[in-house]
């Protein structure tokens, strides 16, 4: 087992832990997004009626045989290629035996002796962390020992009447198990790893990455100063991952400090502490046996080449491309992370940017487009309580709003009004024309610019409006004139903006107001 003394764990409040090094490795199960199961033609499902997606094979009826689903193999290979693994030319399946109600055949088919992928890695960069969870300023290389393709089990639930219920819908759902080397020297990097893996698998369409729903499940192995390790099973969130590692580390430190011995155990996590499930020594011998009827998997160079060519741009390269300070986009790190965090948002951004760029090629257009997308658009979505989907608003509509705002046809405020209107009425806006909408709602900015084209009629109208506001708010106006509350002028500007429905620039309104009140 590898211990990193250089990265000694120093983050806990306890002084005690300073003399101890944490070593941690992860085992992650990820359900593959296939239509059908790993060795049968029944559908994979989530929350379907119990036992409604069960083939004769899934129920382990006598005489049934496994037939490998090649789509599952394809997704597994995709993950392995994206994780830089050494794809094995020949791999094979083994049976892992144990009796349990939700394990109908009495064994699980997995890859024990010859997994299909070995020696991968995933690099954690400083930008993968956040202010609260950072990994320092150097990348961390997490080595992957192996990835194996295997079957999921069914589900057991227990009701108050002491009856155990078995649902075989999940039985034989394809999984990959990703096993890391013990390369984590703190809990934060482990939870950042899990997050990063989630978004990577999501981005390449291999797994939904949902931890809470059980589509991805994490077990951690924790040891202190290269001692005996304990496994903590079934961590259902990234905070559970870091919480459990911290708690287990502290527990082991305390035991060692008392002169105690760590027993090899499988432990659970109750949200605060880890607790013993069973000791490993008295554990089960799984009696692994090569499956006697499944063919070996043979993967040729051509297949690996094909899988590579099919792979979309990986999040790490996307991030570099978006944030390259001399590149096309020059997006801030924070915005790039936001783009990557939402499924299909990066693609949407590329399209949006292309659309805007075709009509406005100013050097900072890409960055501003991103800004608008991340802040105004995503913020607006949040306000109306919906989530991003590429079909929510067409690239053309959002692009036009951005263009009209940036060329000054409408004010920023009007832009927001328009955006909110479009977001709140998604259905009628499918075929809307932004220019028409602007006219319909009389949002076109009043022409108040200086110069020959200045519109004196508009200027007069603004002046009149401001005067009315001052008359309606005499007391406020007085405190401004007397210099008691100079900042109150913004209140009057706000009233005037409201009255003009945002069609006038706030700056124009303010200068008019100052003129009328004779203040600078």
């Amino acid at each position: 087992m590898l211990t990193s003394h250089r990265n000694a764990y120093r983050k806990t409040s306890s002084d005690l832990t300073n003399q101890y090094n944490l070593t941690c490795g992860l085992e992650i199960h990820a359900q593959l997004l296939t239509k059908e199961k790993l060795f049968s033609r029944s559908e994979t499902s989530f929350n379907a009626e119990p036992n409604s997606r069960v083939s004769y094979y899934d129920a382990a009826l006598p005489g049934t045989q496994p037939i490998l689903n090649l789509s599952a193999l394809k997704l597994a290979l995709k993950a392995a290629v994206a994780l830089d693994c050494n794809i094995q030319r020949v791999s094979s399946f083994d049976r892992k035996h144990y009796f349990y109600g939700d394990q109908p055949a009495g064994y699980q088919i997995t890859q024990f002796y010859a997994p299909f992928a070995l020696d991968g890695r995933l690099v954690l960069y400083p930008h993968d962390g956040s202010k609260e969870h950072n990994i320092g300023n150097k990348p961390i290389f997490i080595r992957l020992k192996q990835i194996q393709l295997e079957q999921d089990t069914g589900k057991s639930t227990y009701t108050a009447d002491e009856v155990s219920h078995i649902d075989l819908n999940r039985t034989n759902t394809p999984l990959i198990e990703i096993v890391t080397e013990p390369d984590f020297s703190n809990a934060v990097s482990a939870s950042i790893f899990v997050k990063k893996l989630q978004s990577l698998l999501r981005a390449i369409g291999v797994c939904s990455g949902e931890l809470e729903a059980g589509a991805m499940r994490v077990d951690v192995n924790v040891s202190v100063n290269s001692g005996t390790r304990c496994e903590i099973k079934n961590l259902f969130s990234t905070s559970a991952v870091s919480g459990a590692i911290k708690a287990e580390f502290e527990r082991q430190c305390k035991v060692l400090d008392r002169g105690g011995v760590i027993d090899q155990e499988t432990r659970g996590w109750d949200g605060k502490n880890t607790f013993k499930l069973r000791t490993k020594e008295g554990g089960v011998d799984y009696k692994y046996m090569p499956d006697p009827e499944l063919e070996h998997i043979e993967v040729s160079d051509e297949v690996i080449h094909y899988i590579k060519s099919e792979l979309p741009e990986l999040p790490d390269s996307t991030f570099l491309k978006l944030t390259d300070p001399t590149g096309k986009y020059q997006v801030s790190h924070k915005d790039a992370k936001t783009l990557l965090a939402t499924e299909k948002l990066v693609d949407y951004y590329y399209k949006l940017n292309e659309y805007v760029n075709a009509k406005n090629d100013s050097p900072d257009a890409a960055r501003r487009t991103c800004n608008y997308l991340v802040h105004d658009f995503l913020g607006g979505l949040k306000k109306v309580g919906s989530e991003f989907s590429p079909s929510a608003i067409s690239v053309e509509i959002l692009g036009d709003i951005i263009l009209f705002v940036s060329d000054g046809s409408i004010t920023n405020t009007s832009g927001k009004l328009l955006l909110n209107h479009v977001l709140s009425n998604p259905n009628e806006m499918k075929s809307a024309n932004v220019s028409t909408l602007i006219d319909d709602y009389e949002l076109r900015k009043a022409n108040t610019s200086e110069g020959p084209e200045a519109d004196s009629e508009t200027k007069d109208a603004i002046k009149e409006l401001c005067q009315n506001i001052i008359i309606e708010n005499t007391k406020v106006a007085e405190t401004i004139r007397s210099g008691k509350k100079p900042k109150a002028i913004m209140f009057l500007v706000g009233m005037a903006m409201k009255a003009s429905q945002g069609r006038v620039d706030a700056k124009v309104m303010e200068s008019c107001m100052r003129e009328l009140l004779s203040v600078k």
């Binding site: 045989q65 037939i67 035996h97 109600g101 109908p104 011998d285 009696k287 046996m289 006697p292 009827e293």
Partner: protein
């Protein structure tokens, strides 16, 4: 064929069953007579035209059938009814074959005398006093064929389970090359060895059945791919029916079979069969497969290991019988499903599960299981080295012997059928020796057939073994032997 003849034949078979099944116990369950007769009439409209339309079939009770129970001779599947039909049964039904009943067997195929069935032992119909072994594990199938309680039967052969009862009951028992006939719906004993076998009174019938069943099935992961089948079977077999053809074969006399355990009558029958072939102009060449001595223990390690895994699914939860103790709190704290499995499996099955588990546990995986696989490869290599043809399944086509033989001819059993009283006294390890002559072909996955041979007033089985895929030629030699006047 004329419908009246078919119906008369069917009626005869049904009469024989009524008369002889109570004595031989060949069947575990029977199709109703009227439905058999109706099906014979309907066979005129069979989807596939064939020379076996309207014939009656006995199916070993480890093939899944929708109409009758599929018990595998076990209490644990006492009343189990499959929701689907085995591919082999389906193909035969499409060809107008009618299932007459499900044949008795040693529990899950584990046994050589068919005394280890939850439904009672099968007795050999060739002996009127009910006291002789019919052989196993496909004992019911062989007895049914022997006593004309069907026209042919399906069995399964894992280490000799079709050939040995065929030899004891005086009928032809054929184990084709591994992977040619679909195992879909055949309850697994040891999948790396299990093959569907065919039993009938004459080789011609066996060949007709084989021609229907020899087809690729995507539902069976071990089914041989169409491309390989094409290479094996596209050339028309010469002189198909005559038996006495002009081709002169080189026939191997496997010296390793001259075991001390061979009874004198078997030995002289074997020598006679070789002399007969020699008299027809075929060349007899002594050869040796030295590893057959270690083949038997290797076989029992592999088969029991796979069986312990395959039989793990019988827990009484989804189907099959379940012990009352497992329904209540009584068995809490004990091994999961212990009572159900203790109660549902017979002693020999439990022994082999324990043996198999032992072979897979801890260090014995290396010292037993992997060692047995090594022996298995050695057996395969040694067969490849004596045959004149290379094995189509191995990539190295240089492994063959230009001076080698086309077939091997060996005895099928060490003796004529023993008395049941004697069988029941034997410890299991001693009855395992029965398989010594049949196991090598199973380990190698190559075709082998047992054909009845009369010698000194007794009938023994002569075994013909060929290279992988040479099934039709193996049957041809069998036919030559059977047609001795």
């Amino acid at each position: 064929m004329n419908m009246n003849i078919l119906k008369r034949e069917a009626q005869n078979v049904l009469n024989n069953i009524r008369l002889l099944n109570p004595r031989t116990n060949a069947f575990i369950s029977l199709s109703p007579e009227n439905s058999v007769l109706t099906a014979v009439e309907a066979s005129l409209n069979a989807k596939v035209r064939s020379d076996i339309s309207g014939k009656l079939l006995a199916v070993k009770d480890n093939f899944c059938t929708q109409d009758l129970t599929t018990t595998c001779g076990s209490k644990i599947l006492e009343s189990y009814r499959s929701p689907y039909e085995a591919q082999a049964v389906r193909l035969l039904k499409e060809a107008g074959v009618v299932v007459v009943g499900k044949a008795n067997m040693d529990e899950f195929g584990m046994g050589t005398h068919n005394v280890l069935s939850a439904f009672g032992p099968v007795t050999n119909p060739r002996f009127s006093d009910n006291s002789y072994s019919a052989g196993g594990s496909s004992g019911g199938s062989a007895a049914a064929v022997s006593a004309d309680m069907c026209h042919f039967a399906l069995g399964t052969d894992t280490g000799g389970s079709v050939r040995l009862p065929g030899a004891y009951c005086g009928v032809v028992g054929f184990k084709p090359s591994y992977g040619l006939i679909s195992r879909d719906g055949v309850v697994a004993y040891a999948q790396s060895l299990d093959t569907v076998g065919i039993l009938a009174k004459d080789v011609g019938m066996v060949r007709s059945v084989f021609n229907i069943l020899n087809a690729y099935d995507p539902k069976d992961p071990t089914s041989i791919q169409p491309s390989i089948r094409k290479r094996l079977f596209s050339a028309p077999a010469e002189n198909e029916i005559t038996g006495r053809n002009n081709k002169k074969w080189r026939i191997g006399l496997m010296t390793d079979c001259n075991l001390s355990e061979l009874s004198p009558v078997v030995k002289s029958g074997w020598m006679e069969s070789l002399s007969y072939l020699h008299s027809l102009g075929h060349e007899i060449v002594p050869i040796s497969i030295p590893s057959i001595r270690t083949a038997l223990p290797a076989y029992y390690i592999i088969a029991s290991s796979e069986a312990s895994s395959n039989l793990a699914r019988y827990d009484g939860i989804r189907y099959g019988s379940r012990a009352n103790a497992d329904r209540s709190d009584e068995s809490r704290g004990g091994p999961l499903y212990g009572p159900t499995r203790q109660d549902g499996f017979g002693e020999e099955v439990r022994n082999r599960i324990i043996l198999g588990n032992y072979n897979l546990t801890g260090d014995s995986f290396n010292s037993h299981f992997l060692k047995a696989q090594e022996v298995r490869r050695k057996v395969q290599n040694q067969f490849n080295e004596v045959f004149s043809k290379s094995n189509i399944l191995i990539s190295d086509e240089t492994i063959y012997n230009a001076e080698g033989v086309d077939f091997l001819v060996t005895p099928c059993t060490t003796s004529t059928p023993p008395e049941l009283a004697q069988v029941n006294k034997l410890p299991p390890s001693e009855s395992y020796i029965n398989d010594v002559l049949t196991v090598p072909a199973s380990l190698a996955g190559i075709p082998a057939v047992s054909v009845p041979w009369k010698v000194k007033g007794e009938t023994i089985g002569i075994q013909v073994i060929g290279q992988y895929g040479d099934d039709l030629d193996v049957l041809k030699i069998a036919q030559t032997l059977q047609s001795r006047k």
